[in-house]
Each structure stands twice: as structure tokens, then as C-alpha cells.
């Protein structure tokens, strides 16, 4: 069922993204990259909306899901039909292919196939050994799905409010999507959350590949996927049925239109409602998604201002088009954002420990406690160091460090705005994660040991996309200058 939904969503996206300036291959790439977000995001938001309105059974949420699909089809039809990446592809395509390109492509292709086969074997191992997923899958994510699938809608606020353990306050993208599919297939099969994991993993690969291409480094797109998917921590979490890999995927998927827009000022944008929807889903996936989404948006706006200053300077028709795009983006983000707000304000219980992350006494003392910062830094470095963190990360971090050393000079907003956005988002997000650890109300050593690897996995694909994008021909990255008017 999950893979069927992905294929269906990708087919719809392929259709919605058709228009002037799109090559078939680029449409396919975008459809694959965004497919899982729409395949699981639409049913999840629709199911939550139906349940929140007190409507039981699959019919109400199916109607809501169809309504969302129709709305997206309509907005996609009205949106400008051209895209930055198509233009980038033309520029890249015109350049003479450097010697060695074919060998790199061939080797990358072979290794990608081998990696995919090994990961499929990993998928089967999970299916056999841990069909219910890892600890958190049972305790948190699939447990919420069972509440959504089994309880009458009218009782859900009371039930979520009464739960004291298993993070009933966590957002419900996974829970809602799993519950919706359980209702469709008529049983609570473990294959649903497991299949969704596979869908998200494919989406992550497709989005990462496309991001690096958009940044003007198509030759480095495959290698970027190879690095991320040969990192043991990704093997550990990909099929564990938890929300961390989905969030890492959605961060890339949401960054796609922002990077495409930054990389080519001359080209019209994607249907903004579709871009907004993907970004909104980040908030509906995990609490950390709000931070990632805000960081991406803030950096995007800052870079737009730096690159063109067109946020405040647009006039007349351009201003109304810009306002229209912003409105479309906001409307697209509405399902995810509204679902989160309604859930947090009406269903989710207040969890005292989480409320004390920022509030409560002793926060200033924790913030100024050098020992806590040292512990966070030491634990992070332990993950980065292959001698101590190799079992989870291999040599992924040192290689990315080397990449930054080799091409860090290209990390300038005029030359490589996409890479600046991606690496900036990774850096800012991780800084806030570190701050959260320092302020943590839990035992710090326990908190770090239980969460740090998953949080680092959120930023690994962003950083990998940035480094591999820089590694390509940096001059192709910025796209063409806008035509003189």
C-alpha cells in the first residue's frame, strides 16, 4: 500500500509539473523526490482533519484527501509553468563534459545499484527480526497510529490527553498516515509502516540527488547519495519505523524549491502551493521539524534579499505576483501547520518535562555552565571521530570535512546560494539542537546517548548536499543572471 501511494503521488506530481521548460526527466526527478511527501502527507492531514471534526471511518478522510488533491491540481494548473532546474540543466548540458565523467557516472551507477540491493536486504532483515520496528516505533509512532485507527473520533481528545507516556504530544504525520492506510487495507499490518520507511528512503535519495543537480553539480549527485546511504546510521534508522529519516527527507524535499529559486533568479518558480505543502509537513512530522522549517525559510529569505533585494523592491505586477506566490505558499503549508496547531492546542497533553526545556528555574545557570557545553561538544566530536563514532558513521564526517576544506572557498552566497542555504540550515539547526541539549531537563549524558545520533542524521543529508554541490563546477551553480530589462 505505501509504495502504491508513492507511485500514485509521483504520477500526479508528474502531471502537475508539466509545462513549458520542463524536460521529462526533470519532471520525473521532482515527482520521485516529492512523491512520498504527498503520498503520506495528504492522507495524514486528511485523516487528522476528519477525526478532529469528529468523523469516523475512511470515507470522510478519503473525501478530504481527494479535496486536497483537487486543490493542488488546481493550483498547479494556475502556477507559472517553468522551473529553475530546467534552465540549470540547459546550462550544465551546454558545457563540455569533462574527461572522466563517463567513468564516474558508470562507477556511481554500479555502486548505487549495489547499495540499493544491500539496503533492500536490510529491509528484509528488519521485516523478519523486528517487524514492529525499533523501540520508539512501538512506544511512540505506531502507538499513536493505533489510537487514531481504533478509537472513535469523539474520544480521541480525551484519550490523547490521558496518556502519560509514549510522547502523546508528538505530531502525527506518521501516525495519521499509518492509520489511514490501515483503514484502507482493513488490518493493522506491520508492512504499512515498514513500507512507508522504504518510501521515505527512496524519497531521500531522489531529493538529495535532485538538490545536488539543481546546485549545478550533476556529476556529484550520485556520489552524494552513495555517501549518505552507505552511512551505517542511515541503515540503523531507515527501516526502524521512526520519524527521523522522514524528517531528514522532508528537510531536503522542502529545500528543493527554495534552492531552485535561489540558483536561478530568471526562472519562474514551482507551483508555490506544492512547495508550501512539503514545508508544512515538516512541522507535522516531529517537533524538530518546526525548527528546521523556520531555519530554511529564514535563510532563504535572507539570501533572496542579499541576491536581489527583490523582496521589498518589487513593484506593480511583479509585486502582485510575488504576493500571489507567497499566498500560494502559505496556503500550501496550511494543512501541515493547521494540523499541528489544532493537535497541540486541543489534543496533545502538556508534558511538564518538555515545557521545562525553556521555562523553569536554573536555565540561565545551565546556559552558562561550561561543563554542559563541553559535554555536548565532546559527545558530538565522539560521533565525528571515526575511531569512536565509526560504527555509526563510518568516515562520512571526515569526508564531508575534507570536502569543506577543498571547496569551502566556494561557499559564497553569490556563487553558490543553494549550498549556502543547505549548509547554513544544517549549521543553524545543529546549533539549536546543541542549545536544547544544554538546557535539557533530563540527565544530559542519557539524553545525548539516546538522541544525538538521530539528530545528527537530520543534518547529515543537508550537509552532504551542500558539500557535493560545492564539489561540482561551482561556476555552474549560480545560474544565469536575469535578463536586462
Amino acid at each position: 500500500m505505501p509504495l502504491m501511494l508513492c507511485v500514485g503521488a509521483a504520477a500526479l506530481l508528474y502531471r502537475w509539473l508539466g509545462g513549458v521548460g520542463w524536460s521529462r526527466s526533470e519532471r520525473l526527478r521532482w515527482a520521485l523526490a516529492w512523491g512520498p511527501a504527498f503520498a503520506f502527507g495528504i492522507p495524514s492531514c486528511a485523516l487528522f482533519a476528519a477525526r478532529w471534526c469528529g468523523l469516523d471511518g475512511p470515507l470522510p478522510w478519503s473525501v478530504a484527501a481527494l479535496g486536497l488533491v483537487a486543490a493542488f491540481a488546481l493550483t498547479a494548473r494556475r502556477a507559472p509553468r517553468s522551473i529553475a532546474v530546467a534552465a540549470v540543466e540547459v546550462h550544465v548540458g551546454r558545457a563540455p563534459a569533462p574527461r572522466g565523467t563517463t567513468a564516474v557516472r558508470l562507477a556511481t551507477g554500479v555502486l548505487l545499484v549495489v547499495t540499493a540491493l544491500l539496503l533492500l536486504d536490510t529491509f528484509r532483515t528488519w521485516q523478519r527480526a523486528q517487524p514492529a520496528g525499533m523501540w520508539d516505533a512501538v512506544a511512540i509512532w505506531n502507538s499513536s497510529a493505533r489510537f487514531l485507527a481504533r478509537a472513535e473520533a469523539a474520544r480521541l481528545p480525551e484519550l490523547f490527553g490521558a496518556r502519560s507516556e509514549g510522547h502523546p504530544e508528538y505530531p502525527l504525520l506518521l501516525g495519521g498516515a499509518v492509520a489511514a492506510q490501515w483503514e484502507l487495507v482493513g488490518n493493522e499490518s506491520n508492512s504499512v509502516p515498514l513500507g512507508m520507511s522504504l518510501g521515505f528512503a527512496i524519497g531521500l535519495a531522489a531529493a538529495l540527488h535532485l538538490l545536488v543537480r539543481i546546485c549545478g553539480a550533476p556529476l556529484f549527485a550520485g556520489p552524494a547519495v552513495l555517501l549518505v546511504f552507505s552511512t551505517p546510521v542511515v541503515w540503523k534508522w531507515a527501516f526502524a519505523q521512526v520519524a527521523d529519516l522522514p524528517l531528514a527527507y522532508l528537510a531536503l524535499a522542502a529545500a528543493l524549491p527554495l534552492v531552485a529559486c535561489l540558483q536561478d533568479r530568471a526562472a519562474p518558480e514551482l507551483p508555490p502551493a506544492l512547495s508550501g505543502f512539503v514545508l508544512g509537513l515538516m512541522l507535522w512530522t516531529k517537533d524538530e521539524g518546526a525548527l528546521l522549517a523556520a531555519t530554511l525559510l529564514f535563510l532563504f529569505l535572507a539570501l533572496r534579499l542579499l541576491r536581489g533585494g527583490d523582496l521589498g523592491a518589487v513593484r506593480g505586477e511583479a509585486r502582485s505576483r510575488s504576493l500571489g506566490r507567497t499566498l500560494g505558499f502559505a496556503l500550501g503549508a496550511l494543512p501541515g501547520v493547521a494540523a499541528l496547531l489544532l493537535f497541540k492546542l486541543t489534543w496533545a497533553p502538556l508534558v511538564p518535562e518538555r515545557a521545562t526545556f525553556l521555562g523553569g528555574s536554573g536555565k540561565v545557570a545551565k546556559l552558562l555552565d561550561f561543563e554542559r557545553w563541553r559535554l555536548v561538544a565532546a559527545e558530538t566530536l565522539r560521533h565525528f571521530d571515526p575511531r569512536t563514532g565509526g560504527a555509526l558513521w563510518g568516515f562520512a564526517w571526515p569526508l564531508l570535512g575534507l570536502g569543506l576544506l577543498l571547496w569551502g572557498g566556494r561557499l559564497r552566497w553569490r556563487v553558490a546560494p543553494g549550498a549556502v542555504l543547505l549548509s547554513g540550515a544544517a549549521a543553524v539547526t545543529f546549533t539549536f539542537y546543541a542549545l536544547a541539549f544544554v538546557l535539557s531537563p533530563y540527565d544530559l549524558a542519557w539524553h545525548l546517548s539516546s538522541a544525538l545520533d538521530r539528530l545528527l542524521m537530520h543534518v547529515l543529508p543537508l550537509l552532504a548536499a551542500a558539500v557535493f554541490a560545492l564539489g561540482g563546477d561551482g561556476r555552474a551553480g549560480a545560474g544565469p543572471e536575469p535578463p536586462a530589462s
Partner: protein
């Protein structure tokens, strides 16, 4: 002498070749370590042991109940999570609360309203003692007590309601 742009465009830069060449061992090592990691997953017993299936068997009895109490061995307090989460996952949407002592279930705070208690004890002696204490506390107040053993570890108990059955 600077390398002309045309030449530069015709050949992958040394840095790019070095980086991509280094990716190969990084990939190989990552895959090997990933295989090792997944190998350990493959031989792990399921995270929740037999508890998922155990609590699944009770679900039909609790379907109509909004809440139930999970009474666990106090010696297992530090590792209650496995039992609790397995039970909550299996028995959703019945909301479970946790107790580690009979007094917390059938003590002074209990007004005698009917309630389901899931007694989960690995040690048969402690299991029997907990059931006896529960029964005694309930009957002393003239209330109903009905115990249904599910297996050697789990007993479903219905407390309260009208008189002793």
C-alpha cells in the same frame, strides 16, 4: 601559469578526482559497518519479547474499557518501559496507567468503581502474592474480584462492581 578555462573544463579537477576516489573506501567501509550493524539487529530478540503477543490476547476483554491499570513488580521499576509500552501498543485505545504496589490499585484512594488491572509478574511467587493481596483488599471492602490468568506472567483482574462474584 594559470590553467586556461577551456582546459579546466575538459578535465575533472584534481581535487574532484581525489574526493571521488576517497569516497570509494568510505563507501566500502560504511557498507561493511552497516552490514555488521544490521547483522546485530538480525540476531536481536524482538524489542518487546513476547509481551506484544501476550497483551494482544487480552485486548478483546478490554475493548470497551477506557482505562486500565498495569500492575508491575516493584523490583522491575527501573525497566518498566518494555512492559508498559508493549501493553499500551497492544491495548490501544485503552489508556494504561502504571502501578507498582497493590495499595496504589486498591488502597484508600480507590472508591470501589470497577477497574481492570493487568498483573504482570515474571516471578510466580510474587505474582501469586500480588493477586492474593489484591483479592484480600477488595473483598475486605465487600467488592467484586475476578481473576483470569492469561499465562504464567499475566493475569487480568476485574476489581470492584457489585459484591463478590
Amino acid at each position: 601559469m594559470p590553467i586556461p578555462d577551456q582546459v579546466r573544463a575538459r578535465v575533472l579537477s584534481i581535487r574532484a578526482i581525489l574526493f571521488l576516489a576517497l569516497l570509494l573506501p568510505v563507501w566500502a567501509l560504511g557498507v561493511l559497518r552497516g552490514e555488521r550493524l544490521i547483522g546485530s539487529v538480525a540476531v536481536l530478540p524482538p524489542f518487546f519479547g513476547e509481551d506484544l503477543a501476550r497483551f494482544d490476547r487480552v485486548r478483546p476483554r478490554l475493548r470497551a474499557s477506557a482505562g486500565a491499570i498495569l500492575l508491575l513488580d516493584s523490583s522491575a521499576r527501573s525497566s518498566y518501559g518494555q512492559r508498559y509500552f508493549a501493553a499500551q501498543y497492544s491495548l490501544a485505545p485503552t489508556v494504561l496507567s502504571l502501578a507498582f504496589a497493590v495499595d496504589a490499585v486498591a488502597g484508600e484512594g480507590w472508591k470501589g468503581e470497577p477497574r481492570y488491572v493487568l498483573c504482570v509478574f515474571d516471578d510466580p511467587g510474587r505474582h501469586a502474592a500480588a493477586l492474593a493481596a489484591l483479592e484480600s483488599a477488595t473483598r475486605r471492602r465487600g467488592l467484586g474480584f475476578l481473576a483470569e490468568p492469561v499465562d504464567g506472567v499475566l493475569t487480568l483482574v476485574r476489581l470492584g462492581g457489585a459484591g463478590p462474584p
